[in-house]
Symmetry: C2
Subunit: 181 residues, 2 copies
């Protein structure tokens, strides 16, 4: 959406938006947090034009929020994974996600995020009130409450959970979901 820069603005928010404010970028990061790693899985799950996906992934890798590494199972293909720096966006992203579901929660499905070490549902900003800390992605599992309107693509099905955040979507998962209909 944005495309670009807010050069006149000397505020952290403007800096943040220059990196993650473009259309699709936050959704790509969200998927990466959920364990999506392959180009084709992002594309299927997001319904995003591939040219845009290519561009956004490249930008995120350039910015150091994702890392691109060769897929051990398929020569010539790449996997995209959140870097440590990228994972620092988790609380902010969670806060936005929560706001969205709270505002429009009626007809839309909710997704729960739980702190695995204590079983507590996270508050806005991925804060665990029991442990008094921001729950890092490695300690979070998520589950989707299904609705009639849920997407049925293999990636959406595989991500219904409950499953740990960051756990890579395996080929078996997406194939099984797509599988013998």
């Amino acid at each position: 959406m944005l495309g670009n820069d807010y050069e006149g603005q000397d505020c952290g928010l403007a800096r943040a938006l220059e990196v993650i404010g473009e259309r699709w970028t936050m959704l790509i990061l969200r998927d990466a947090f959920y364990g999506v790693q392959r180009f084709s899985d992002f594309a299927v799950h997001l319904d995003i034009p591939r040219a845009v996906l290519t561009d956004r992934l490249r930008a995120l890798v350039e910015r150091g929020l994702l890392e691109r590494l060769p897929d051990p199972d398929h020569a010539g293909r790449a996997l995209y994974r959140p870097t440590a720096e990228g994972r620092t966006l988790w609380p902010a992203l969670h806060a936005l996600m929560r706001w969205g579901t709270e505002q429009f929660g009626d007809g839309h499905a909710a997704r729960y995020h739980r702190h695995t070490v204590c079983g507590t549902d996270l508050r806005s900003g991925a804060y665990c009130p029991v442990c008094d800390m921001v729950a890092p992605l490695e300690e979070v599992e998520s589950e989707r409450v299904p609705t009639e309107a849920s997407r049925t693509d293999p990636v959406s099905v595989a991500l219904r959970g409950p499953r740990p955040m960051l756990a890579p979507l395996t080929g078996a998962e997406t194939l099984a979901a797509a599988g013998p209909a």
Copy 2:
């Protein structure tokens, strides 16, 4: 940037981005939280094309995040203020702002947000660790640490603070700042 919708995505994040994901929208809300209320003040502070500002303000009013009311001091002009619903975005916006300043904190100025009832600096998500609560905008004051590179427009100067969030920028403030140079 975005322009629009992510209709296929049944996720709170997508819903949120449909409302506040367009270019400029979050910066407009941020300014509104700081007390900017007049069209011209938004325009001066953001360096935003006026056609876009008109459009975004209209959309935010339509969505119920801002309210538009007649300016008591100037017939025919309007003021824009965050609604209660709009203010629920504060924690998410604060989290993003914090992330931006942390990522690029070196050369760029920081802005502090303090919980006025206890004097504590807020954590990401506007959380006050001392009071164990999210500090609502009404209980927050902010202050800008000035740098050489700071903007010098009247609105930026007036917002340096310390000053309470939501406190309206008066005509006197912006005039005094612009004043006898």
